[in-house]
Symmetry: D2
Subunit: 227 residues, 4 copies
Amino acid sequence: MMTPDYGKTFALWREGAAAPWRDYTHHPFVEGLKDGSLPRAAFLHYLVQDYVFLVHFSRAWSMAVIKSETLEEMRISAGTVNALVNHEMSLHVKTCAAQGIDEAALFAAPEAVENLAYTRYVMDAGLQGDFLDLMAALAPCVLGYGEIGRRLASSKAEETPYAEWISAYADPEYQQVCTNVGRMIDKAVERRIGDLAHAPRADALQTRFTMATKLEVGFWQMGLDGA
Amino acid sequence: MMTPDYGKTFALWREGAAAPWRDYTHHPFVEGLKDGSLPRAAFLHYLVQDYVFLVHFSRAWSMAVIKSETLEEMRISAGTVNALVNHEMSLHVKTCAAQGIDEAALFAAPEAVENLAYTRYVMDAGLQGDFLDLMAALAPCVLGYGEIGRRLASSKAEETPYAEWISAYADPEYQQVCTNVGRMIDKAVERRIGDLAHAPRADALQTRFTMATKLEVGFWQMGLDGA
Amino acid sequence: MMTPDYGKTFALWREGAAAPWRDYTHHPFVEGLKDGSLPRAAFLHYLVQDYVFLVHFSRAWSMAVIKSETLEEMRISAGTVNALVNHEMSLHVKTCAAQGIDEAALFAAPEAVENLAYTRYVMDAGLQGDFLDLMAALAPCVLGYGEIGRRLASSKAEETPYAEWISAYADPEYQQVCTNVGRMIDKAVERRIGDLAHAPRADALQTRFTMATKLEVGFWQMGLDGA
Amino acid sequence: MMTPDYGKTFALWREGAAAPWRDYTHHPFVEGLKDGSLPRAAFLHYLVQDYVFLVHFSRAWSMAVIKSETLEEMRISAGTVNALVNHEMSLHVKTCAAQGIDEAALFAAPEAVENLAYTRYVMDAGLQGDFLDLMAALAPCVLGYGEIGRRLASSKAEETPYAEWISAYADPEYQQVCTNVGRMIDKAVERRIGDLAHAPRADALQTRFTMATKLEVGFWQMGLDGA
């Protein structure tokens, strides 16, 4: 299966983080979603933490609005904040409610250190650098989930109980979000850098992307360990 | 006509800034909207600056998402960012387009110092303080426009060419935004302070609100002077 | 031995985090410093990570300058930033140089997730809240090291090779820093809250302090595990 | 007289803002300092506002510590924060005290809108962009005062009562600060961009520098108008 086309910046960053990217997108947690072998307890632990993650990830996308320099950057970032806070968090709430966990409990769930490390790292990438530093730290989650969703949709076991999770990210609507974000990143690179591959900032941005990818690996692992 | 009920915190802040609040809500620019005597050039100058204002005001509301501590604070702030960026800015674009000013020109319009002073002050209120410091600086614009819209809707001259502007803020939908924001501020005060009137922070918050109110006065004046 | 007097706010927070505070200040790593049983490799691993910690801790104290509302807050915070960046980091460099680790290597050392989680959490506490939220997250490191230094100075084994580390924090100069920071926090509480024990914000601030204390426990553990 | 050598980035930015740079460095306020014709009341008004300016300018340099990516950037920025807060502000206090204005009054002085606009713009440049965006907004003040001090020291009237002000900025120590900051900016450009003159970001950075230069013009004018 081909790598999804989420833009040339993503392709470059993904290649620059080849080993951790594979660890992330093929983590045992992911393979467990695919073949259905993931323990329910691990999935639930992950879901609760992912809700807290979304709270802080929304805050980080709000930082992207603050750091935008074009209308398109503002629109996509603001739309993403709204989608995360007023839609995706609600989906999580429904899924969790079906398991007997209410929203106030979700919002107040004790945050695992792997979770906290990740979102605060992303937020600080925005505070320390510019829009691109923030995008390099935000990209692994947004685009990695798109890539995982696509792959799992075409390779999952018939009977996996996680088909709904998989289809949420394989969904054309989510895939379009990935395409749009990837294109916005490409334009942001053109506007601020030009040729990324040979730019002095290439290493610093790669480091951001790679670190966020490693923190994704830690997040899956936290899910497994929480079972 | 009665003062609109946008919550008890707003009532306290408004009273604490009585003179500048009157200067703001009864500024000659506002009276010119009401009786139709405002020169078209002043209105257009204001409109272009107000578009640039909205860009940075959206950024400040994004800071509110970052500073939120409850789900409700996040939802209202995120919804406001999205409404500003993906709706209200578009309305401005239409109005301006009808006058021959396109959106790229709007986004790139040279920012008047009175405009810049205001939005950057609000943003910095958020950076320096907490959610309430930011709200005290955001409230005069959001709620003041609601109050002005309500008053002008019931007192405007039949023939004023600014009836559309007035009705945008007198509109029940905008009035509901004001009620919701006012209520959110009241809850944010309860959560963080309790009895605001006797709290040590009362003066600091009042100073924020009063300063933002004075910056609103400067904004109208800039509109008049730009004609 | 009596608890050090670093102010009444610290006393309240410390009591509110009793169990994690004990885990932090009596961690096996600390006891190993005291009796000299800590493996040299663990200490070195800790030292290198602590250098990276100082980089980001200095950035967090810079956030305290940004969030200051009084001259005293500005002066103490600015002085702390300067002491950390232009003095304490140099001390670290000397200690590490004696072990064959140069400063460029230190600055570029891969950051352990426990390290990253801690400093970015502190930074974000400042971004999300006000000066006090940031102080609640900064206090466990500054004041806890003072408390540990004091205790170990009077109870350490004669032959511990970590006597120099202990005396750095037991030193009257460092103890004075703790007293000054503790007093500044008390004044900051008076200015913004009044009676902390019964304030609506008490829980939120306690949560910040407790979380930072737990992240200190994780930091020691990372040192031990790195051996 | 030759332009001072504060680095090649400054030379580029200065040339790119030629007209406003001349308006700033040869403002009637500056010429009044040189020939002694500046009314004392204007100077005092300026001094009080400049104290409030220093408060927020220190906060902006603290943002530079947060945004630093190298040890040298951290050290120079942290040293500058400390010099501003714990030394330069004290000098101001002495000068003002001699005129019967005490420090608490200074700290609480009502901030002129031209003052507020400037410092909050600089702060927001740091929040929106990266270290270089912030430096482009900080440079006009730091380096412009160096240039003005140098020029006035060699051209001032014997009898100007502002000789002390002039010598503070003509002083070799202050000139060294300018040289160091200019060199740090050059290195920061090399690290993040390479050849600035042909970089996609060149315009955005120039806009920052030019805007801050214009805000300096407004600051002098506020001094004159306040007499």
